[in-house]
């Protein structure tokens, strides 16, 4: 099953249009056409063409940037859909699927009916698929791309013989060389003497030929189904009490944790859906600070969310899904207790249910002389402490946005008022010049370089003042210990 225009079809599904349409991709510093629809091809455009040329040929061309990663994800979606025909479905390149329908065709009333069903459903969904059916994978590939159809069962050569040699999944150079020898059709290649061909081109062309004709076996590797971490429970009678819901959650959690354990993964985000009798649903999301599959530790974390949920007329279906999982290998028990890391992770999760997991943060060192950029604030649950903290010069313990004070020249003022306090400079250490990082635009540093002073006042306060020589002014930005 080949989708010649997978990328553009995928985009056009959301915004149907009959006008010429193309997806562009930036390759080697130039926008080139990546995929285009039939209307655009009729205008004489082709893939790989510079976008500017295409616009010159076809002024009303609509375009959109391509998203190859999205296309790949979508192909996986199609693969999952194709398992409705047979369980054995694999990917074929970047825009094809390969299905082993052995023993499954009769469920759809035979091979022809099955192909018709596929075509109908896919074209209704907005795709133009090319489907080939053959005894072997090679024959199906050739038929899908060169002369759509169905190979005669048991005699593949009869169908494949008139197809060009390019239908054998060979590389460009081999195809060109074979054509120069006069071997243009598969039938001609099959009739030629094998030994000189093998001597000249190596085993590849003959292997592909044998695979297409069924003389050599070729496997179809189906993609493994992604594991599904969801469990649910339907209740004969609606429930509404907190303890009942927690009991149901506990049962689901046991089953889910067994699943997680079997795959050596731990849940990072859990989603509990409480479906009510009036078809409404309440969702409780739980984000954990570290991957976890210990039901006894996860259950108390749900208490807050379940307590806040509205049961309405009662809950009759409970569903629990681990929406985000991370690998969590089984660990050897040792005499060294896991200790603080575990209890701290639990505490972070519990606080996270209240204020949001991203609001529990830790500082990471950053390589910058700019005081505000000397550190990074990262979510504690998604980062590890690390890095060395270096401060060659004393730095304030408290930072705040610069607060202007009155000052006249480049020396710190002898007396100044700050936050309605009258302060007198007793000792000033400096200046320490810090220049803005020109590669990162920052509005706060528009005033240019800063000369920082460590000013100790007679009143006791030790302040971090700076003077901006390019734009004269004095500011207070921090306070020392």
């Amino acid at each position: 099953m080949w989708f010649p225009r997978l990328a553009s079809d995928r985009v056009l599904r959301t915004r149907p249009s009959d006008a010429p349409f193309a997806l562009t991709l930036k390759q080697a510093n130039a926008e080139r056409l990546y995929c285009l629809n039939i209307a655009a091809e009729r205008q004489g455009l082709h893939r790989g063409m510079p976008f500017a040329d295409a616009r010159a040929f076809c002024p009303d061309l609509q375009s959109c940037p391509a998203d190859p990663a999205g296309d790949e994800r979508f192909l996986h979606v199609l693969r999952r859909w194709a398992t409705r025909y047979c369980p054995w479905v694999g990917l074929e390149g970047r825009d094809g699927l390969v299905l082993d329908i052995t023993g499954a065709a009769h469920l759809f009333g035979g091979e022809a009916m099955m192909l018709a069903d596929m075509r109908q459903r896919l074209s209704r969904a907005g795709f133009g698929p090319r489907i080939g059916l053959g005894d072997t994978r090679g024959a199906a590939w050739a038929l899908a791309r060169f002369g759509e159809g169905q190979a005669e069962a048991g005699r593949p050569l009869a169908t494949l013989a008139p197809l060009p040699v390019a239908a054998l999944r060979l590389d460009e150079a081999t195809v060109t060389a074979l054509q120069r020898l006069g071997l243009r059709k598969i039938g001609e290649l099959d009739a030629a003497a094998r030994a000189p061909l093998a001597r000249r081109f190596g085993p590849a062309p003959l292997l592909r030929l044998d695979q297409a004709l069924g003389r050599q076996p070729e496997q179809i590797a189906p993609l493994a189904e992604p594991p599904h971490y969801g469990v649910r429970m339907s209740l004969p009678e609606p429930i509404g009490l907190f303890d009942d819901v927690m009991a149901a959650t506990a049962r689901l959690l046991d089953r889910l944790c067994a699943k997680l354990k079997a795959r050596e993964t731990g849940a990072r985000v859990l989603c509990l859906t409480l479906r009510r009798v009036d078809q409404g649903a309440q969702t409780v999301e739980l984000r954990l600070a570290s991957p976890l599959r210990d039901a006894a530790r996860i259950l108390p974390l749900f208490e807050r969310g379940v307590g806040a949920a509205d049961a309405g007329y009662g809950i009759d279906q409970v569903r629990l899904e681990a929406t985000q999982v991370e690998p969590l290998p089984v660990r050897q028990l040792s005499h060294v207790s896991p200790g603080r890391a575990d209890t701290l992770g639990d505490l972070i999760s519990r606080i996270g249910t209240r204020i949001g997991l991203e609001n529990i943060q830790r500082f990471l060192p950053a390589d910058s002389h700019i005081p505000e950029r000397g550190f990074i604030i990262a979510a504690a649950a998604y980062s590890e402490p690390g890095g060395a903290w270096v401060s060659p010069r004393p730095r304030p313990v408290l930072l705040f946005p610069p607060e202007p004070i009155a000052g006249t020249d480049a020396r710190p003022p002898q007396r100044f008022r700050w936050r309605r306090m009258s302060l007198a400079t007793a000792r000033a250490t400096g200046p320490e010049r810090i220049a803005p990082e020109w590669w990162l635009p920052d509005d706060n540093w528009r005033s240019g370089v800063r000369d920082y002073w460590h000013v100790e006042t007679r009143q006791g306060r030790r302040l971090w003042l700076f003077y901006t020589p390019q734009n004269p002014g004095w500011f207070v930005q921090g306070e020392f210990a």
């Binding site: 603080r340 209890t343 701290l344 639990d346 505490l347 972070i348 519990r350 606080i351 209240r354 204020i355 609001n359 529990i360 943060q361 830790r362 500082f363 060192p365 005081p371 000397g374 550190f375 604030i377 504690a380 402490p385 690390g386 890095g387 903290w389 270096v390 401060s391 004393p394 730095r395 304030p396 313990v397 408290l398 930072l399 705040f400 946005p401 007793a426 000792r427 460590h454 100790e456 006042t457 007679r458 009143q459 006791g460 306060r461 030790r462 921090g478 306070e479 020392f480 210990a481």
Partner: protein
């Protein structure tokens, strides 16, 4: 705080050093000294005379020291312009710290500056929406006890109920709480309250005056201290003008 060791009661790594007197005696960080009528006793929970004895002997030979570290399983308060430094010193003696801050405040602690006191990697920062959220998170963290020190910024006065809940949580989790309060916003439930002010000294850039202005189980006092960044240690010094060699003591 089980039995006090009879031998070797001086810790291998002193957390404090009193340099105000000539005999340079170390304030030991074990059971906290509590002063009764001029004599320092060692606070002790459950035990007999033998547990008291070393502390009594010690109290006779050492000058009265600063009441630090903060009493465990209690919530304390610090106010004044040096409150952040006080919290930093308290954090330096703790294995891990949770610092609660309301997200709307534009002042933020600078980890680069704090690295003179302790390794900022042991600091967790929680940003809350308002004070009721701060208190809820602080109570949760104190009750859990996974973090031995919880520092919280207070912006409106705590009533007795809130203060008492924090105390009970700290007691349950055996963790220490420290509220950084604006001047005059103290809660009656606090165990101790410290007024911290930086002091200008001609020869010193880190001198601070810490005055204990409320103490539920001890007396009040004031100390001049400075932070020794190389040794990561708090030095207690005599107030300026009373040091050996100064004009005041020379006469």
């Amino acid at each position: 705080m089980e039995g006090f060791p009879l031998l070797g009661f001086l810790p291998p790594q002193p957390a404090f050093r009193d340099v105000s007197r000539r005999w340079d005696y170390r304030v030991f960080p074990g059971p906290w000294p509590v002063r009764f009528s001029g004599m320092t006793l060692v606070r002790h929970f459950g035990g007999g005379l033998f547990d008291w004895l070393p502390g009594m002997i010690l109290s006779m030979i050492r000058p009265a020291g600063i009441d630090l570290p903060l009493r465990n399983a209690r919530v304390h308060e610090a106010c004044g312009p040096g409150a952040v430094s006080f919290a930093a010193v308290a954090a330096a003696q703790s294995a891990a710290v949770l610092w609660l801050r309301e997200a709307w405040r534009n002042e933020i602690v600078n980890p680069v500056g704090l690295s003179a006191f302790f390794d900022p990697s042991k600091l967790l920062l929680a940003q809350t929406r308002d004070q009721s959220e701060t208190l809820a998170v602080a109570e949760e963290a104190l009750r859990d006890g996974a973090l031995p020190l919880v520092v919280l910024d207070i912006t409106r006065p705590l009533d007795l109920r809130e203060g008492r809940r924090l105390q009970l949580a700290a007691k349950a989790g055996q963790a220490t709480g420290l509220c950084l309060i604006p001047d005059g916003m103290g809660s009656n439930a606090a165990e101790t309250r410290w007024q911290c002010t930086p002091v200008f000294a001609a020869d010193d850039s880190t001198l601070m005056r810490w005055e204990i202005i409320k103490n539920k189980s001890g007396t009040l006092g004031a100390w001049h201290v400075r932070w020794n960044a190389e040794a990561r240690r708090l030095d207690v010094v005599s107030p300026a003008g009373e040091r050996p060699g100064s004009a005041h003591t020379a006469k």
